[in-house]
């Protein structure tokens, strides 16, 4: 013991209040009483990009419900006079005057030297574009017959905002219809892998023992084989006699079937950790069965994590579908997805001569980015007590 004076330090002159942290005043202390859900929302909002992405995805999913209305043409409409027509611009100035939106009439000439179709705009013939108008007839959801479209070609012309393909089909309309397939494949596939992952992972994690051992081996096996060969094998056994719609379901199932292993592992390891917690013991002592314990007490504990990681696997499924289409074992015509559109566009001819056919790559990028940001945001928000 020496008599060295204490280091200078700050002493709070206010009287000590042991309940200060519990007091509810406006501002920060809201955090103390907020429900987990509110906290997550707060956390999530901090991730601006995630918020924007979420809204974008909501909009685009809403849009696929009404493809028929949004697309100017039907999915299969062919205009054989307009093959490989480049995108048309919508103008609002004609001869320096502001007019209703219009396009110029087009004429085509064949260059027999190159065998190329050359389109020229006739600048003297503006053709007004129509809105909320009648165009190709369709059956909305197979129930309501209608021919109403958001935007239609001029009465005596065509409207190819993103050009046409080798049979004269409108790229924009096909991209819009393709969204319906590509986006639902991702969601349905993830739902499936989600259910499988939770059930299998949950049982393995909770029960342990033989069941766990078997599940572990199966996940290990599935994860040690590259995914593309697995996809190929499963896609190859889809019978050729199946209708395109069934094939669509089949492909979705395949994508889901091979994706659950990651989730199952996550669920299992979380459960292994959580089942030793006291509140689980308490629940068991009170007579809760495994189903109730897993479903009511354990899963909610990390549900948010699961949703976040599921969100992050959706892009993989959308891209997986494009890869399957690329290998020629994916969806079959007349079902049209972004993967099919891109597969049709994957030749050097198209890059060099008809680049507008590659447009579907834009929505693919946007959607995948959005899902990634959304997933990141969700994950950051998932554990609000961090």
């Amino acid at each position: 013991m020496t008599d060295i004076p204490p280091l200078p330090h700050h002493v709070n002159p206010a009287p000590f209040d042991p309940y200060a942290a519990d007091k509810v005043v406006d501002g920060r202390s809201f955090l103390a009483v907020a429900s987990p859900r509110q906290l997550m929302w707060l956390n999530f909002k901090r991730h601006r990009l995630a918020l924007v992405s979420g809204i974008f995805l909501l909009l685009i999913y809403a849009a696929i419900l009404i493809c028929e209305f949004l697309a100017p043409y039907d999915l299969h409409t062919r205009k054989t006079d307009y093959i490989y027509a480049p995108p048309q611009a919508i103008h609002i100035f004609h001869n320096g005057q502001l007019t209703a939106p219009f396009t110029y009439a087009r004429s085509v000439t064949l260059n027999m030297e190159n065998l190329q179709r050359i389109y020229t705009d006739d600048l003297t013939r503006p053709q007004p574009v129509r809105f909320f108008c009648s165009g190709d007839p369709y059956e909305f959801w197979g129930l309501i017959k209608s021919d109403n479209h958001l935007i239609c070609p001029p009465t005596d012309g065509e409207l190819f905002l993103l050009g046409t393909d080798r049979l004269g089909r409108d790229v924009l309309s096909r991209t819009i219809y393709g969204a319906r397939i590509s986006l639902t494949i991702g969601i349905l596939g993830v739902m499936m892998s989600f259910v499988l992952g939770i059930v299998i992972g949950g049982l393995a994690g909770y029960h342990g023992g033989i069941f766990d051992l078997v599940v572990q081996r199966i996940t290990e096996v599935l994860q040690s084989i590259p995914s593309i060969p697995l996809w190929m094998a499963l896609a190859a056994i889809i019978p050729v006699t199946w209708s395109p719609l069934l094939v669509y379901v089949g492909i979705t199932v395949i994508l889901g079937l091979l994706d659950w292993t990651g989730l199952a592992r996550a669920v299992r390891s979380k459960l292994l950790a959580l089942r030793e917690e006291d509140y689980v013991l308490a629940a068991r002592l009170m007579g809760a069965g495994p189903g109730r314990i897993i479903g009511r007490h354990l899963i909610p504990g990390f549900m948010s994590h699961l949703i976040a990681s599921a969100t992050l696997t959706i892009p993989g499924m959308i891209l997986g579908e494009t890869a399957l289409s690329f290998l020629g074992i994916g969806l079959r015509a007349p079902i049209t997805s972004w993967g099919i559109l891109l597969t049709e566009a994957r030749s050097v001819n198209i890059i060099a001569l008809y680049p507008w056919l590659m447009f579907p790559v834009v929505p693919v990028i946007l959607v995948i980015l959005a899902f990634n940001f959304l997933g990141d945001g969700l994950r950051d928000a998932a554990d609000p007590y961090k």
């Binding site: 062919r78 054989t80 093959i83 064949l110 027999m112 030297e113 190159n114 065998l115 190329q116 080798r166 049979l167 004269g168 190859a236 050729v240 006699t241 020629g328 079959r332 015509a333 007349p334 049709e344 994957r346 030749s347 050097v348 001819n349 060099a352 001569l353």
Partner: protein
């Protein structure tokens, strides 16, 4: 009896051969490629290497130029298996077709045919395999005794091509340069089989192959070889080392213009000129002009792109009509030249209603000629031609092309007009008059009359044409559903009667002569998707499948059998016309557009490749009939 006269060209050739010393051209006779080897004494000089009577190709008479030696042709292939296209294209055969589809002796110096059944071939004196060993009747004997009829090696014995009925033909050696094959009955198929892209092989380099044959080599010598080449037994070894159609053994002596230098697996295959090749130009220069071929394996995805950036000096495979625009625009930036040849298929895309379809109602309908005619009349061929082929194709039924001497306009125009009214009338007559509220026709048993058409899905051409036809058929009340099948099970399903209608290209050989077999016209093979079961019946020697239960189809088989016993070209032509007329009337396959175009890309300074030609596997062997050994590189002065 006819004797094949020595053709005019051979006579010219013989004259030219005697005129050899008076060469009009200044280039050295000895290819520079071999100059060192000859100087070092590793290789005899050119006069010793050539047969005494080489085949003289008179380029001037063909309207081509005499060239100079040297250079390397670079090509692209989609997989290493495609090296087999080299012997197809280089096309040295005992007898072979020229561009006008006349048969000429090529490896053989001459041949005679008696009674249409006795074939005698005379070889060129002093002709050698690419390793320098002599090519004589002994090589025919080796092939006949030790391979073809050796049941150890060739389990099934001589193939159908060497038999008439069940009887195997007789083989004799008349002298060291003359061999004879005698059939019991006329064998009009025999010479065309020798001239085929994948020919019937009658001679093998015995001197080289003996070492792999247990008749000549003892077990102790074979064992290490079997080990080295990783085969199970000497039969496997012999088969592997003697494979002619796939040039994968660089040591195997050949008679082709270029011999392989690379053993697979590899990413690049080189072929170099055969020092003992038997053709010369009129100035006495040994052919081929080009020293080397270099084939690079590339993914099929990018062959077009690579070709368009000047990475290929001669490209036929892996590029198609839709690539023409890109290739043509590449002419501006790269030294290449694109020309369009005509494809020889009877139809670029044709529909084959399966007459062996399992469903009895549909089968009965397809057996009804009115239905087949109606479907043909419902197709708007002009639209297909305009959309897909820029109007450059010919709208026609699936039959021979105008380039064939057997062509008659009525074959091509039979039921090939666009006449939906008549189509509707015919369908009404055929019992499909009832329609549902959507205008779809109903089958007699009340089902909707939708046709499922299956495609192997290989080319976008097929699916594009089908898209158009779907609309055409809808207008006559028949919905068409397109289904893309995996190709490998497509055939077995078709054979099982599970395929309702398929889409395939038309007749393989759209430019036949009367001397070529009309077997494609009759049900002879399980690959014919309109009657696979009947085809099997024929090809299996009536042991599998079923006999045609349609008189017209049976008639085609009978006519084919008659053709098999003909001797004169006139008789053969008469039978061809009967068959073609029958097919035109019966519309067994529904053609759309023929004379489709195939772009062919060559280096700008590669000479002697015609700007126009016929492109097909049979009978021209792709470039084979156009003599690719006469291609040469013009160097800038």
């Amino acid at each position: 009896m006819i004797t094949k006269p020595i053709s005019r060209r051979t006579v010219l050739g013989l004259l030219a051969a005697t005129a050899l010393p008076h060469r009009a051209f200044a280039g050295p006779l000895e290819p520079a490629f071999f100059a060192d080897a000859v100087a070092a004494g590793d290789l005899p000089d050119m006069t010793t290497r050539l047969p005494k009577n080489p085949r003289v190709i008179n380029l001037a008479a063909m309207g081509r130029q005499v060239g100079t030696h040297g250079g390397k042709i670079r090509m692209l292939i989609g997989g290493q298996r495609d090296v087999r296209l080299v012997p197809v294209n280089s096309y040295a055969r005992l007898v072979g077709y020229d561009a006008a589809l006349a048969l000429h002796p090529d490896v053989a110096e001459s041949y005679t045919v008696e009674d249409g059944r006795i074939f005698t071939f005379t070889l060129r004196e002093g002709h050698r395999w690419s390793d320098g060993s002599p090519f004589t009747a002994e090589d025919f004997r080796y092939a006949w005794d030790d391979v073809i009829t050796n049941l150890d090696l060739n389990k099934g014995g001589p193939s159908q091509d060497l038999r008439s009925g069940d009887e195997v033909c007789a083989f004799e050696i008349l002298d060291t340069l003359t061999v004879r094959y005698t059939f019991a009955a006329p064998a009009p198929d025999f010479l065309p089989r020798l001239a085929a892209p994948l020919p019937l092989i009658l001679a093998l380099p015995g001197a080289y192959l003996r070492q792999f044959n247990a008749r000549y080599a003892d077990e102790a010598a074979l064992a290490p070889l079997i080990e080295e080449f990783r085969v199970d037994d000497w039969q496997g070894l012999h088969t592997k080392m003697s494979r002619q159609n796939r040039p994968e053994n660089p040591d195997l002596p050949t008679l082709e213009a270029w011999r392989p230098r690379t053993a697979p697996p590899a990413e690049q295959f080189t072929f170099e000129r055969n020092a003992f090749f038997h053709r010369v130009d009129e100035t006495g220069q040994q052919l081929p002009y080009v020293d080397e071929l270099e084939l690079n394996v590339s993914s099929t995805e990018i062959i077009t792109a690579k070709t368009a950036t000047g990475e290929s000096d001669l490209q036929l495979a892996g590029i198609g009509f839709p690539d023409y625009t890109l290739l043509k625009s590449a002419e501006k930036t790269y030294p290449l030249k694109v020309s369009l040849w005509k494809r020889t298929q009877g139809s670029a895309v044709s529909l084959m209603p399966n007459l062996n379809y399992l469903d009895p109602v549909w089968r009965a309908l397809f057996h009804d000629v009115r239905v087949r005619r109606a479907l043909s009349l419902a197709i708007n061929r002009a639209e297909i031609n305009k959309v897909i082929f820029y109007g450059l194709g010919r709208e026609a039924a699936d039959t021979v092309l105008p380039e064939s001497s057997l062509y008659r306009p009525e074959y091509a125009s039979a039921y090939a007009d666009f006449d939906p009214e008549q189509a509707n009338a015919l369908l009404d007559e055929a019992g499909l008059a009832t329609r549902d509220i959507y205008g779809t026709r109903l089958l007699p048993d009340g089902r909707a009359a939708g046709i499922i058409v299956e495609s192997a899905g290989e080319s976008s051409l097929e699916t594009d044409v089908l898209e158009l036809i779907t609309d055409h058929f809808r207008d006559v009340g028949i919905p068409l559903y397109i289904r893309t099948s995996q190709r490998d099970i497509f055939r077995s399903r078709a054979l099982g009667g599970a395929v309702m209608m398929s889409v395939w290209q038309g007749l393989d050989n759209g430019i036949p002569t009367a001397d070529m077999s009309p077997e494609d016209l009759a049900p002879t093979s399980d690959a014919q998707l309109q009657w696979p079961v009947w085809g099997t019946y024929y090809s299996s020697g009536e042991s599998a499948g079923e006999a045609p239960d349609m008189p017209e189809a049976q008639q085609l088989v009978d006519l084919l059998k008659q053709w098999r016993s003909t001797i004169t070209t006139e008789d053969r032509a008469a039978i061809w016309h009967q068959m073609l007329a029958l097919r035109a009337e019966q519309v067994f396959s529904i053609g759309t557009v023929n004379g489709g175009l195939q772009p062919i890309v060559r280096a700008a300074n590669l000479r002697n490749l015609p700007d126009e030609g016929l492109f097909g596997f049979v009978p021209t062997s792709y470039l084979g009939a156009y003599l690719p050994d006469t291609l040469w590189f013009e160097r800038e002065a």
